[in-house]
Symmetry: C2
Subunit: 216 residues, 2 copies
């Protein structure tokens, strides 16, 4: 099956959105917690969070263009802080429901039935039900001129991990022990099964499996 540029262009809008959203492969599934400068809470599901660097610990995400309301982005710009919370299999429906267009004065936490949780110096709310929560400090935003989406980059300042056993000897996290899910396309959720962990690759040297044994 071959889709040319013209075939893609000819797809009706919704079909193209589903199709193109499926092409990048599996995506991360996170909830972004924010408040505005009046303390009004917001929670939004985002499938575009990606690793950007380990030192300093930077994480990126893509926000939609200004043509749609973007409470999350406005809140991040106002306060400079946000939380990133892994979505686990138990809260998939509630997480998905945060994508509905609620008015700005509605807290998605309350609307979907998730619990805001405050800790440490982060003024943004975490999701209590999430098993991996991060406090993030805004570092930069830049508009992608090609389509007016916005790349938001933050530095991870705190990590809260519910299950010690997910933390492996060498720093690797076993996301399956946290029931973290993955997204494909716009709207499908997946659990995962570990196939293999592989050693650092070198030319002319055979790979070997790595352990996922916990620290504790």
């Amino acid at each position: 099956m071959h889709f040319t540029k013209q075939d893609i262009e000819n797809l009706d809008k919704q079909t193209r959105v589903h199709f193109i959203n499926s092409l990048s492969g599996f995506k991360s599934a996170n909830l972004i917690g924010t408040v505005d400068d009046q303390g009004q809470e917001n929670l939004a599901i985002v499938s575009s969070v990606f690793h950007l660097g380990a030192h300093p610990p930077l994480i990126g995400m893509i926000m939609r263009p200004h043509s749609v309301p973007r409470d999350t982005l406005e809140n991040i710009l106002q306060t400079g802080q946000y939380t990133i919370n892994h979505i686990n299999a138990d809260i998939v429906e509630k997480a998905h429901q945060t994508s509905a267009r609620y008015n700005k004065d509605v807290s998605e936490f309350k609307a979907v039935g998730l619990t805001p949780y405050y800790t440490g110096s982060c003024i943004a709310p975490f999701v209590k039900e999430s098993k991996l929560k991060m406090a993030v400090e805004l570092k930069s935003t830049q508009t992608i001129e090609l389509n007016q989406t916005v790349l938001v980059i933050g530095e991870i300042t705190d990590v809260y991990l519910e299950n010690d056993k997910a933390y492996c000897q060498d720093g690797f996290l076993d996301l399956e022990k946290l029931n973290t899910v993955s997204i494909s396309g716009l709207d499908r959720y997946h659990t995962t099964s570990g196939l293999i962990r592989l050693s650092y690759a070198k030319p002319n040297e055979a790979l070997h499996p790595l352990s996922i044994a916990p620290c504790k």
Copy 2:
């Protein structure tokens, strides 16, 4: 378990790399096929490919800083073209092995045992063994000043899909029918199991499951 900014800073370099790479959640697993202007082939595994927009169909990826050799990026800049190929469960080890630091004059295709495949007007090689292949035209590159990584953005011009049954009625692709895998951290590979596909969310309206029935 709470990791503060200082705790993260205090981790030894390799532990921090594994840890921070685990935090964003599940990642896409793709092979990037390129040639230089002499036709020398290169193939590189990349876990940072992400969806950037459906109209035009844009796809992004992050490349490492100039301090390490970046044949893939140099080739893309020289030719303006590349291919993105989903990694499936059958080729995980070969795909991982492409991350070894081969000399520039070594084709990773040959070194790891994957088959370069040329079709259409794209001068970059596809991976024959991949079940979802895309031809991509470079649209822009921008350096992320915070850590000197490079955001590469391309437009998808062709999509080759091996299994018709993965193409669903509404444009969604069932990646599980293509055996596409997901990556966590630096080096773990996962297969997935579909939990649920959910309808477009609206305030005060219940979600319902969506079909993944194929078109054909």
